[in-house]
Subunit: 333 residues, 4 copies
């Protein structure tokens, strides 16, 4: 059984990591860090957790990491950027759930994340790990786990690009819709139930930090330059992301051709499924599965492409565990 | 005080009509039809309703309509198409909340609504009434009240077209998101809380019947040909529509120029407001107000335009009352 | 038209006051105080508000209050206790929506509110105003507007006591269930959508401050000593309170006798209605109406009594406006 | 690996059974019956299900059951009463999730379920299986799986009775609150999101069929006669039951004594936990865990006792799997 150490274990992604690792046959949470919940039993927040596990301060957990450990960072980008080099230096392998190591160009990083990357020299060590399209090798030491919106967007769009179904050079419009856990576990007035319930709104217009991540991943998968415009919306539900992408079609594209492209792209992936009906976030909630779907709208010569995921699972903790398994040389789940 | 007769008064639009008319200084509900609730006090469903008002069968109400009445039809399109000519023949004026009289071309109607229009010769009598952009004259006898998605889409996009900010001939992508009352008050398994709660899904892909209505209204307002691709999504909330429109920009468009276009378009309209922050359906819920907003995304040279309304009020009953007031020669509310 | 001044206008009760006063034929908001939103147009938060109204700091509004004004305090209890004497000294009449003046005994107040009352000598001036059961006289200068849970509990239970249907001396169990706006507009982590959605929990067990308020009001209405045990629960919805009260029956009580007791108690009250089916908060949401209902459970010889209100309207702003109208000598709404 | 056959597999309890069995190390779904979904892949509704599993008609599955099978009936009570004898006759063991075999007295059954029991002679064969308090022996052939409200009520109240903390003969008031999946997967207008969202209501007053089940189980556990008054409420959430029970205290009861009673009762049960803070349904959602809590309210000399479960897991499928494991002689989960 492999030791896994979780930093930032009391946030939503961290709690989900602990929950899913509790039932995992080959992985075991050795330490769970949380400065604010330090000393509290983890099982008070995640009933499935091992009763003997307690939250510990970051520093104590950092000291406890040993060569051979796998560490999952469910911390903010600046904390991850600070911790990752220290952990690598201790001989641990790291799967980072933040955005700290997803953007190779430090200037692009600073533009979208709003601060200078503290260790730009380490970014090159990171492998971007989207298991169904961009799997990491077992030899990787630092894995950048994709963002939640990015995961859904890439899984929705990549098969179209790979199959040459999108008009070259045409920008792709991505309308993302997310439940509230994506905003994290923090007491912001804009996030209280009284404000979010029965409400719907776009946010962070034209500057969502997953935009360059989506473009880069799509380019890596397809080998083509891609421009994406991404707009995020907050939906009154806890878990789930639906991405609706609008891609100008290259030539005559039929629904049958679209379905074929997705089936081809995800042939070996048991947890990405082309749904013959429009996808629903409710069906993949609390699972590591993805539903994809696409249709041609011949009136505007545009492909409508969709993906539905659980933002905390496939969009965070579940995918991180896929990446941990990849580091262990395991077969794709 | 003007008599108003409401057909289909026990559906969500009908109930909202009764609710809002209950507090109206110059209008009074004389009859409320509902075959299924016939005999029941209206106040059991709408606590604000006059306690002496009971639901009556359609036929009884039809017989009670007299010359000079204004009739609001909150009935399905086929029922409205059947009732409207009879009511006009009795000397009543009609505001129809269904899609029966919104599409002048019977072939287009049949294509999108799925049945032949039963009285194509009467469609030409109908005036499409969107008060802020396409007000009806007091002399109108039959008013087609706009659809909910159509209202939000038109209010979001028309100012851009009128100001020449959209690239000629480029299709506009409209991503519509609606609460559940838009689907009506009916016991469908797909609409139960257990299926809709914590769920999000697109529906009726490429064939939503508001598509040609949006195109035509935008052409009437702007005098330009327009192509729109419309995609509907069901959101776990009861009331509210947010429309996110993506329109390729004509030349250099700035945020300031966008704001100016909306302020210009809605200068005289007290209930359409350009919000300087992203719009929220929650702020307009249970009101007849609309929030509009737009931003240029220079990376994809595309205008992001938004409108938020309450689908039952500005998207149905509230706008119908504006149209009733227009028939009375009242000032715009 | 009477000037009304609202303190604490940017909280949920304050916003609802502004919203409902915007459509009131005889009342007009002259000033709306909010330290945190000072300078912002009120219509940015309440679209129905007069566009020329802006939030002003508390101190500025205090200075602007003149003899003859009616002031509604939608402020926390300690702020209300501080402001009320100053306002009364300026010749204004005050309707306080907080708990500052609901408990006449300063020791009881301190025990349940957790702080010493700053002006115990002024409490005696306050009239507790529950319009249907304990109306205030037009001569009142300071009105204590009932709490939200208290309003529902009193309206559910008082008719039973007045009709002698409850076993003498037996404690009454009250299980209260509230939507989230009752907790106020503040960024607490325990109130975010991700924590409250799909969740249900009791809170503040055995020490909710509405307990002594309910007991005292029931004693005032019925002339009998009453003991109540109150338990609050947080429900994933924005607006609404449902109170389920369990009162041991005195002798043979029938459903018919129960209905009679309620109809008798609320004969002259157009906005409290005995529902022949179980009450629903959804039907009274966004209204000043109350639905009451009761049934005998013969197996345990206990009366089940229910009341449903909108906590922000009948439980706060709507009832405050009823009290303002009472001060003006208006008829009961 | 033990074969498990699921009848009624397309309802919410059936789907949850399939979901949880998909990840079970020693159990495997051999057949899943559903007349309405017959022919459809189970994985279209439960993404985790084995891709080769399809829904089959009841009759076909009945024919496929063999000696040694364990059958879970997630069917309505009348269907279960019809199927169980046939399955027992084929040599299968049966865990019934309906109420068909929970009430031993056919007259009591008819009174609360509204129809005559079709095979009263078989009821005596059934063992009521609540694993933590009333475990079934491995020799049982027919297990009555407890109702959802009943499970929560019994787990909340039994420790109080066993410890002698409740006043003899005093009725216990149980206020039950449930999410919507408890009402099943059916297209009833009263259950649509537009009616249930932002709404709260009691239902089936004084005649909920779990009442006699709760009384009988509490008597079996404690050996004392018990009278319970049960009131159900529908809450706008999908999953979760919170039961708030009000039990008159016997003598001086302290919070410490209460906590001791629960810790004693559930000492060996890893999935029932006394929470030191008020329980929350959100924390046990999608798990087989139960949170219990109790407090004395000295003002009314009454114990407040709570339990929170997921109605589909501990209240149905998860508990059924515990019972299946008991039949296999497995240790308590």
């Amino acid at each position: 059984v492999q030791r896994v150490v979780v930093f930032g274990a009391s946030g939503y992604s961290g709690l989900e990591l602990v929950r899913r690792l509790a039932g995992h046959p080959r992985l075991r949470v050795a330490h769970a860090s949380s400065n604010r919940e330090a000393g509290r039993a983890v099982s008070e927040l995640v009933v499935e957790a091992d009763g003997s596990l307690s939250f510990e301060p970051h520093d104590a957990v950092l000291d406890a990491v040993v060569d051979g450990d796998i560490v999952c960072l469910a911390t903010p980008a600046d904390t991850s950027a600070d911790l990752a080099p220290k952990l690598l230096d201790r001989g641990a392998r790291v799967v980072d759930l933040s955005g700290a190591f997803r953007i190779p160009d430090p200037e692009v990083f600073a533009e979208w994340y709003g601060f200078e990357h503290p260790c730009p020299e380490r970014i090159a060590e990171a492998a971007y790990g989207l298991p169904e399209l961009l799997p990491v090798p077992p030899s990787a030491r630092l894995v950048a786990n994709p963002g939640c919106y990015a995961t859904a967007s890439i899984l929705a769009i990549a098969p179209l690009l790979s199959a040459g179904l999108v008009r070259d050079g045409a920008p792709i419009v991505v309308d993302g819709k997310s439940g509230t856990t994506g905003a994290g576990k923090k007491g912001s007035e804009a996030l209280i139930f009284s404000e979010v319930g029965e409400n719907l709104r776009p946010y962070r217009l034209t500057r969502h930090q997953h935009t360059p991540e989506i473009e880069r991943a799509l380019e890596m998968v397809s080998g083509r330059p891609v421009t994406v415009g991404f707009t995020a919306h907050l939906v009154p539900m806890r878990r789930g992301i639906l991405v609706s992408a609008y891609a100008p079609a290259a030539g005559d594209v039929t629904d049958a051709r679209l379905e074929e492209a997705y089936r081809e792209a995800y042939r070996g992936s048991s947890n990405v499924r082309f749904s013959t009906t429009p996808p629903e976030t409710g069906r993949v909630q609390w699972t590591n599965h993805t539903e994809v779907h696409a249709r041609i709208d011949p009136r505007i010569d545009t492909i409508l492409a969709f993906a539905a995921i659980d933002n905390l699972v496939k969009g965070a903790a579940g995918q991180a565990i896929q990446n941990v398994e990849a580091l262990l040389g395991a077969e794709r789940a």
